[in-house]
Amino acid sequence: MEPLLHIDNITKSFGSETVLHNVSFMLQEHEVLSVLGKSGSGKTTLLKILAGLEKEDDGTISLSRKRMNDTPPNKRNIVYLYQEPLLFPHLNVSENIAFGLKIRKQSPDVIKTKVEHMLAEIGLEEHAEKMPHQLSGGQRQRVSFARALIIEPKVLLLDEPFGALDAETRVQMQELFKKLSKKMKLTSIFITHDLKEALTMGDHIGKIELGHFKRYESKQDFYDDVDSGAQQEAAFWKQFN
């Protein structure tokens, strides 16, 4: 099967520091790839290059077999979501969700229907008229998701989206993402530094360390790799049995 996203030998340096070394991998349609990486490993730079927000020094990015290197971010249909929800502060919940549709000049009736549907999906129908500062962290993150999903992006890039949430909200958001991801057949790259979250969210696991990317064939492969940290994590929890 032809991959949706094909990354080939992406390299990026800032000054004398090389942050990505010949990163190559493929992403199938409807696949969620979890990528583990510590701070400074180059994961955010990788996502920003894929979104068109940073320019790679070398390598090729292809989406549906079309070279994307010189395509501006607004033409890629790849949405990059930050750790912070970053809602537009001057727009209410409905208007935030409708943002991408308005940009695409869809009719008001279509926008209204789609926004209502999306509000129901994220369980925020009651909060449609609220402003961002009136929402909790989890609610803001839901709106941020809805705003991205409503435009049906080809690829969704999530940069530690639940990193700032408390444990309980984090679990709720993970469940919501999994539900929506399955329902909307999303193709996404999910960056996290949480091993359990990576295993829960991803169909496949990748790891980025000091700019070098490694994709595991299966979750078992990931577990078997001593350097992945999975065995140490399992051993830690086993001591309480």
Partner: protein, 255 residues
């Protein structure tokens, strides 16, 4: 205690205004009387006299300050963004303080030769340019903090959601920067409105703004006309303060 402080604060604002108004109505104020001997609207009739040109001066000053503030705000918005994204941000911001380190009058004295050479000394375009030299760095300083990490992330997010640069500017950056832009406009308007030394030097007496006229009346020891001109001088800043309080602080956007 709080109430007393509030009254003191209100008095400190309104007493000078009331006193200016009283003086502008005054006639015949011999020493050692506490107040003028008589009050009339005669001084205010001076506004309508064709040879006084006080109203023309008021509108000329208003025009100059609005133009300086508008151009400064627009250019400072663009410049401050480029500076904020530059790796030399701190060094470039230091340059913005140079006119204030030198002081506007010294800057004007330094540049006066070039104004004469360009043929714009003593005319409105020269005064506009001179005031712009002072207001522009101030505008950059005010707007520089707007371009923080979060603003940049919002701008990038808007683009990945499908907005072009223009759509991002119109639909995102402009609305979220509204308060910063208004603040910059008001501040640079006030810098231009109350500017004296630089305007006097570059205007060489041919371009008389309201602030320059107030000083002229004071130098002539004409306190009644000085008070009258001062009443006009404080009118736009008071309107700006009212707009600021009514429309900006009331609708502050939470980023």
């Amino acid at each position: 205690m709080k109430k007393a402080l509030q009254i003191l604060f209100i008095l400190s604002i309104f007493f000078p205004i009331a006193f200016l108004l009283l003086l502008s109505l005054g006639r015949n104020w011999p020493y050692p009387e506490l107040l003028p001997q008589s009050l009339s609207l005669e001084n205010w009739e001076f506004l309508q006299k064709s040879d006084s040109k006080l109203l023309q001066t008021f509108f000329l000053s208003l025009g100059i300050s609005i133009l300086v503030a508008t151009v400064t705000t627009a250019l400072a918005f663009i410049t401050s963004k480029h500076i904020a994204l530059s790796k030399y941000r701190n060094k470039l911001m230091l340059l913005a303080y140079i006119p204030y380190v030198l002081s506007p009058v010294i800057l004007a004295a330094t540049l006066h030769f070039f104004f004469i050479y360009a043929g714009i000394s003593g005319n409105v375009s020269g005064v506009l340019l001179a005031q712009f030299f002072i207001a522009y760095p101030f505008g950059v300083i005010i707007l520089n903090n707007f371009w923080n990490h979060k603003t940049r992330a919002i701008e990038e997010l808007s683009k990945t959601l499908g907005s072009s640069s223009w759509q991002t500017f119109k639909n995102v950056l402009l609305p979220i920067s509204k308060n910063a832009l208004l603040l910059c406009f008001f501040q640079t308007f006030l810098v231009s409105w109350f500017e004296f030394g630089l305007t006097n030097l570059i205007g060489v007496g041919s371009v008389q703004t309201l602030t320059v006229r107030v000083f002229s009346f004071v130098n002539e020891a004409n306190i009644f006309y000085a008070a009258l001109a001062s009443c006009l001088l404080i009118l736009p800043p008071m309107i700006l303060i009212w707009i600021n309080k009514r429309y900006i602080f009331a609708t502050e956007t939470v980023i």
